[in-house]
Amino acid sequence: MTALSPSLSPPARRLPKPFSWPVLVAGLAIVAVEMTLGAQVSEYYLLLAYIILQYVVLSTGWNILGGYAGYVNFGTAGFFAVGCYTTIALEKLAAVPLPLAILAAGVVAGLIGLGTGYLTLRLRGVFFSIATLALAVVLQTLIVNWSFVGGSRGAYVMRPDAIAPFASYVQYLLVVMTVLAMVAVLAAIAIERSWIGMGLAAIRDDELAAEASGVPGLRLKLLATTLCGAFMGMAGAPFPYFITYVDPPSAFSLAIAVNAIAMPLIGGTATWWGPVLGAVLLGFTQQVLTVTISSAANLLIVGILLVVFVTVAPTGVVGITRAWRGRRA
């Protein structure tokens, strides 16, 4: 397993550049809108936008491993909770600024992803998936038993006062989550358009053949697993300030476990905008439905949608629109 052979690296002119300027501009435009409108609209809309952007980060993170490499991470809620509890633990120790807490959460969750991957990724992919399922249970056991971060009773987190250019702390959280979503999407695009994404796609299609043609399989998979875990952890880091009271059931929430998988699969796993589309569509629908019907019934709908899509439309919304456009052309 040495460096990638030159024959595999793509000819530069045929692929778009790994760095996507349009996404950066769009992200900054959203931040500008949030800065100007954030103080005027009702807080409900800020919370709604925050939740949807959080799902963009989670499903993009999931898709880096699940969509590009074909390895299913069932432990999203666990990684998300690791991010939450990193913030809480840091907050109990000292007044750590949020961006620093997010970085710390990314490192901790990324290392957990790396460790799980290192132990299971050399075997068949299903073992990794099963390990992540069990990992979420174990992490929850750890947190329930760890009284420093509140244990099973949960922990209250004080929202700090608003920081200078922002009208409220919620607005600040929203801008932070927007930047995080932008970074996650940019990272996903960079992976998709570089030799890393090609290597991961080769692994997804035929792992043995990929290894044989010089793709450093284990190292690429570990990179994807680490990034996947890190983004999920970072998505969870601001969450304690968002809901101000965190207990194990809310951090290891069922909604996050199922949405992180349902959103990329319903949107489409092949491209970076599938998970983004899935997160926006499903996230928005759920927020509307939660007001009208109970949240449990809401999750039931997500579960049914997930099953319907993987059985009938495995390429997701993106795949359906592509096929439809292809037929018209």
């Binding site: 099963i130 399922l133 579960g303």
Partner: protein
Amino acid sequence: MNFSWDLLLNAVTSGIMLGGFYAAVAVGITIAFGMLDIVNIAHPAFMVLGAFLAFLSINTLGIDPFLSALGFAAIAFVFGRYFYRAYYHFFERRGDDSLQGLAFFFGIMFIVEISLVLIFGVDYRLIDLPYLATTYEIGIVQIPLRLAAPCLAGVAMLVAIQFYLSRTFTGRAILAVAQDLEAVRFVGADPIRTKEIAFGIAMASAIVAGVLLIIIQSVEPSIGREFIGRAFAICVLGGMTSLPGTLLAAMILGIAETMTSTFFGPSWSPAVAFGLLLLTLAFKPSGLLGR
């Protein structure tokens, strides 16, 4: 952590009894995952469904759970056959049964769990069988019938399935499917039908395990998730395709868990299975009795 011999002996005894029940949970995983290569992570969710069916049948119809388990198992067997046929139609036939198939079972697990929440709520449910209330004492070792009976039933089920697999034509065809799908065709067995029957057996075993579960402990809809790690750890440690291996691994996990909960506290026992799974995957992925 206070150590004493009678604590240890009691921990081992209840570990063995727990192991018998775990064998009942894992036997379906060994068949579906080990032999048929179907990663049915919804198996524990169906088990919890079985537990609630037993709860309903004793509380509304007054039918003894051991008796109703047989009826439910028969229904689950038929359901499992159709379920596999659908799975085959949508995933195996298309050849993309890894990512989509996993997500499919995850979705099914979720639907079963949330449906139970919507119907029964999130409260813990327990059934009380007066004839299992006695506890035998042999020396310093205590044997509560509430644990011993599910253990015996679980082991009996595993032994019965093992006999079926090794003594009948269809049973041997199932074992053959696990080894070489193409070769099964040559000896005149239909591999799809064979896998259908095997998956039906696995589904029936999940329901029976659920009935045993609600005899042992109180049950709430999401409790199945604790058993995913356990069942797969047992299956892998046992050697994937071996039912005797499953029984042995179930006993090992049962003893390890009761030891942990006796000496470190019961809240740590869900972590034991994960540790065992990771250790097995890292050091002996072929399992104890694997080929």
